[in-house]
């Protein structure tokens, strides 16, 4: 009975409709694959490693001044979730859900939930405008998505200042992030493009992969800043004065890399840079740090 009705309606509509296409569905639980930069993403980046970032002088000095104690001494840093641009590179699992318009069944929004610090984000698909410039910013920012075939193109504004790499290279609250999500079978590919006039000389492009993982449990995380020890007298925000950071050469020496390359910058990221990059000051015999991260699809042991 119902079927006949449908055919009736459908027939009618088909006559009046031009070909259109439904969207890819990203909903479900996903686990990140760390097949690129595993040691950076977990257990964490080396200090002073700006490789692969088209960083400007300002961003580089912020990184040089960064003291990791900041996270524990400035209590407001303790419970921050990642910015939504960094989150797709982070080390927690991801759940994506979707709102549909009850009448048209057209997708209204995707919601992402990431276990680390309960990071939540909405990507609006209904064509709504972004808020005015004088509205408040957030870790997730304000995201709108537009479909291009099987690719969702996302634009994010209103981000809070955060970092591009967890060693102090910042991403400013003026950044505009564009993303391109697509899905191939059980693989989710997320391309993140960060445009930051404040700290980057050109867009930063990073692409991550997630694998479909139904049935995983993602719990909200509870976090309360709890300063364990008071700051040393006079210290409000720990940092290294310019030219005094003793750790900047470590990464070059540990991995046998020219120091200039470690400092990052757009010019160091072109293939032709290999011709001019110069010689490392120190080259170890063989790999000694994180050489087996991800071996047998396992975690990252330190040797």
């Amino acid at each position: 009975m119902k079927i006949f009705k449908q055919i009736g309606i459908a027939g009618l509509l088909v006559l009046t409709s031009v070909p259109g296409y439904s969207e890819i569905d990203f909903t479900g639980s996903w686990t990140p694959l760390f097949h690129e930069d595993y040691p950076e993403r977990f257990p964490g980046p080396e200090l002073g490693d700006y490789m692969g970032i088209p960083v400007n002088a300002a961003g580089r000095l912020r990184g040089d001044s960064y003291d990791a104690d900041r996270i524990s001494m400035v209590s407001q840093y303790e419970c921050r979730p990642h910015g939504s641009d960094y989150n797709m590179r982070g080390s927690a699992n991801l759940r994506i859900s979707r709102d549909l318009d009850p009448v048209t069944q057209a997708p209204v929004a995707f919601h992402t939930f990431i276990g680390f610090q309960s990071a939540q984000r909405t990507i609006w698909l209904d064509g709504r405008p972004h808020p005015p410039e004088y509205a408040d910013h957030s870790w997730a920012g304000f995201s709108t998505g537009v479909w291009d075939g099987n690719m969702l193109n996302i634009t994010t504004t209103h981000l809070k200042e955060y970092y591009i790499r967890r060693n102090g290279v910042p991403r400013s609250d003026q950044a505009v992030v564009t993303e391109h999500w697509t899905r191939h079978g059980n693989y989710l590919t997320v391309i993140v493009v960060i445009n930051d006039p404040v700290f980057l000389t050109e867009p930063l492009v990073r692409s991550e992969n997630w694998i479909y993982d139904p049935g995983q449990e993602i719990l909200p995380s509870n976090c309360e800043p709890a300063p364990e020890v008071p700051n040393p007298p006079g210290v409000i925000t720990p940092h290294h004065l310019p030219g005094t950071n003793p750790f900047l050469h470590e990464v070059a020496d540990w991995y046998g890399i020219p120091y200039d390359a470690v400092r990052g910058g757009a010019e160091t990221m072109r293939p032709e840079y290999r011709k001019v990059m110069g010689k490392p000051e120190h080259v170890p015999e063989k790999c000694e740090r994180y050489c087996d991260c991800g071996k047998d699809a396992g975690a990252c042991n330190l040797h």
């Binding site: 259109g20 439904s22 595993y38 057209a106 099987n150 391109h180 992969n209 293939p271």
Partner: protein
């Protein structure tokens, strides 16, 4: 727009109508055209790969024994530890890191052209390699293994988790999404390296690639290739990476140079 969408959703749910359009979903009136004629995006031109990720593994020949991020197994670990570039050179195998499973990660530029209506050609300046993507179906039975192997390509019809694209689901043929992705499956590979420092892949490797084209707000064109290396011999799970290529106005920076083992 939503009206149309509504219509299509219903059409998708009605056998009589959708069979009439051919069961392969996605495009109407049977399978969509392949090859040059069916190209939903234009990948031809000169492209460069700026090194944003895996910088210290891609830009340099990594330290001996560094297999970080690759889900290798014990067999692979032995080969990694035994890596000796001199031996490879002596054996005339200095192109081991330039095979299909590794070449897209080698810093360099690509020149992509249509060799003919059914063959997309990718030339690399690093190692002067040539990959041919055949839109004419599966690999020949008796193929000779080579660095670049045999690549069967098709314009993806629709993304369907855990199944071939666009087939019917139960009684209802599937109304799919219009895809802009180029799917390439490469086999008949000569054993080579995923990384310059001897992280291996074996002869039974199947390389699956998805080429996705996108643009910056500025209009600057890019494509990202999602590479899935499946190698029962040396990998615990498929090795999945994404490599981003930026369009260049011309070939002035395309700089062919031979393979090197170091």
């Amino acid at each position: 727009m939503r009206r149309i969408l509504f219509a299509i959703l219903i059409v998708g749910a009605v056998p009589a109508l959708t069979f009439a359009q051919g069961g392969r979903g996605g495009g109407r009136g049977g399978p969509p055209p392949q090859g040059k004629a069916g190209a939903p995006v234009d990948l031809s031109g000169y492209w460069v790969s700026p090194i944003f990720e895996d910088y210290r593994w891609r830009m340099f020949t990594p330290l001996k024994g560094d297999a970080a991020s690759v889900p290798i197994n014990d067999a692979a670990r032995k080969i990694v530890d035994a890596w000796d570039p001199a031996k490879d050179e002596a054996a005339g195998e200095q192109c081991k890191a330039y095979g299909a499973a590794g070449i897209m990660r080698v810093p360099g530029r690509l020149h992509i052209t249509w060799q003919d209506d059914n063959t997309l050609k990718i030339e690399t300046d690093a190692g002067t390699q040539t990959r041919l993507f055949h839109f004419t179906g599966q690999a020949p039975k008796e193929g000779e293994p080579s660095w670049q192997g045999y690549s069967a390509a098709k314009w993806e019809v629709t993304a369907l988790p855990g199944g071939p694209a666009g087939v019917g689901l139960g009684m209802l043929p599937r109304q799919g999404t219009k895809s802009r992705t180029l799917d390439v499956v490469t086999t008949q590979l000569r054993p080579g390296y995923l990384r310059k420092n001897g992280v291996p892949y074996g002869a039974n490797t199947t390389l699956t690639e998805y080429y996705d084209h996108w643009s910056e707000p500025s209009g600057q064109e890019w494509f990202t290739v999602t590479t899935v290396v499946t190698d029962p011999e040396y990998l615990a799970i498929p090795f999945v990476t994404t490599t981003d290529f930026k369009k260049e106005p011309d070939g002035s920076k395309f700089n062919p140079r031979p393979c090197t083992a170091r």
